[in-house]
Symmetry: C2
Subunit: 364 residues, 2 copies
Amino acid sequence: MKRPSEKSQAAVTMRDVATQSGFSPATVSIVLNNAPLARYIAPATKKRIEDTAKKLGYRPNAMARFLRSKRSHSVGVLFFDITDPFCTLIMRGVENALYQASYLAIFADAHNQRNRFERYLELLLERHVEGLIVVANWLFVDIHVLADLSKRNIPSATIGWELPGNNISSVMVDNETGARLALEHLHQLGHRKIAFIRGPKMLIDSAPRWRGIQKFAHGAGLEIDPALVLQLPESLDPNSSFESGYRYTEDLLEQRKKFTAVMAFDDLTALGAIRALTKAGVKVPEHCSVTGFDDIALSSLAAPSLTTVRQPMEAMGALAVNIVMDGINAALEKRDWNVVNQKMNPELVIRDSTRAVSLTGGDD
Amino acid sequence: MKRPSEKSQAAVTMRDVATQSGFSPATVSIVLNNAPLARYIAPATKKRIEDTAKKLGYRPNAMARFLRSKRSHSVGVLFFDITDPFCTLIMRGVENALYQASYLAIFADAHNQRNRFERYLELLLERHVEGLIVVANWLFVDIHVLADLSKRNIPSATIGWELPGNNISSVMVDNETGARLALEHLHQLGHRKIAFIRGPKMLIDSAPRWRGIQKFAHGAGLEIDPALVLQLPESLDPNSSFESGYRYTEDLLEQRKKFTAVMAFDDLTALGAIRALTKAGVKVPEHCSVTGFDDIALSSLAAPSLTTVRQPMEAMGALAVNIVMDGINAALEKRDWNVVNQKMNPELVIRDSTRAVSLTGGDD
DNA sequence: TTGTATGCGTTATCAC
DNA sequence: GTGATAACGCATACAA
């Protein structure tokens, strides 16, 4: 049982340290912040002040400091949907980079809801975040948000998507290269009849990945059978692609299409596909190879573990922070800064779900 | 390219709204906050003020407001390790409950590092969070943190662990019941030779789960073969139990022990076990059933999908928020409030990794 | 080398 | 019904 009376231990303020140590608040401020003028303060004074501060358990009041200095030392990080499996690592990357810079990340989760997104944006602005990072792969945001973001001159970066018009910095994986890597891998393993499960139209990643596939196919003389090309439906639930991958693959099998590999849009789709294949008695990778995209945490643990294209999530988060911090510093130093649209290199991770096509064993 | 000059659009303040609308700052404050005194303000005045506020795009300055009102409208949420798979849903639960209460969650990730934990704690206190939630399942924190937390009279709750001494509220799953549910399920399916992979000693969940197992075994006359009882090693990496589950099960198989089921400490361990079994040609669930604990996102997607005991993570997060909010409100209203140590009911989720023991087919 | 005074944007207590 | 005014805790220009 807590008595409210216990609560009345008033916070110790700078003035307290000042009176206790016998100096003025100004001097205390200078010393404790190690401000430029601290150079001229007598060492003995410094020590006295620091000691009493520690003795009294002085803790600076961030609100007051921010109000005065106009700097909140925080960066807002707005996620469209935090349950999307790749968010965790992005958070890590972002948080870590901000921590190095002595900034605090303020994470917000829009639950894929437009009004929630806007509400949180407002909240973050009220709290005067010095920078903003927006994480999403959905394109359902319309131009208003763009206007919002670029109008308020606060350094921003997006991760996993781009706004049209190049007004805002972005960090994305190089989807085209990633798709090429995966397809190249399958091709090298001898696969020629490959089923493709493309991403939903609404996802910004879908088009470039498909482009990567087409370009490689064209270059390598690989034929893409339109009957083996499917496209995921639009959905707001980031975890729904497992179900879709499962169902689509099931359909493919029922139609007795021949293929020796499935190249799925992302890892969840791939895992769904594997599940359908396995259930139908088609062994992965013996009878059919499967590739994913993302390298979410599950992929290495799945059975068979998934060959996939890794997005460097942590690095992407860190890079976004660097971009934003550069903007912040630029404004401080009254420098110009540039909008950058960076594509990061993906990495092919070869695991157990792909294998050279066997001459004897076959498609179901 | 951003010109710093663009930046110089000074934020519009309450005073601006006041002068523009022709009223005093005091009146503006009363109107915009819908304070009690707003009752006495002429409707026309209200409208004028609200209109000009909107026209100017006035946004209240949270720092100033907090400095004055002493209320930050935020709650700190300190995770020991955010990559632990169950953190995402806890975040959801916490964030959602706080959102309802118009509070902002400030998430921090200690990376399992003591100094980082303390640094973030300090940061949160500097920012005057009104409440604190600490999420962990590791017990490596020593008494100092306890002292820290309960000394600074700020309403707090822990999720997934308890501090000795009952000084701080906590929300945990009822581990004993959960373990009983899983074992009961296996028992009902006819399993009698069951291998157990216990949790590491350092984890607070380990002991009660084992107790649940023992109690049920005793009550049901089920014999526990000590040769089939293993214990996970201590580890700071929340994702390492997959590897351990794999290795331990492999060992068990190599020693040609007979068992028809594996009851694993958690889902990752269970998935590791399944992987080992499958690799050795032991089919799950035909030849061997496996159960987990937690119901992390992977578990429903794995092949076979995992029978497990679900921890109601979101609900646990929400409950922690309610506890903390009650503390906050109690302090505001100068009421007393109670430390509560709540155990939430787990739920058995039956999926494809368990099956009635077959009379014909057998262990390995 | 240190102290005084002022203001950041708000809210709350009074007075009118 | 509305307007002065003070104060929250800190940082800084300027004075000493």
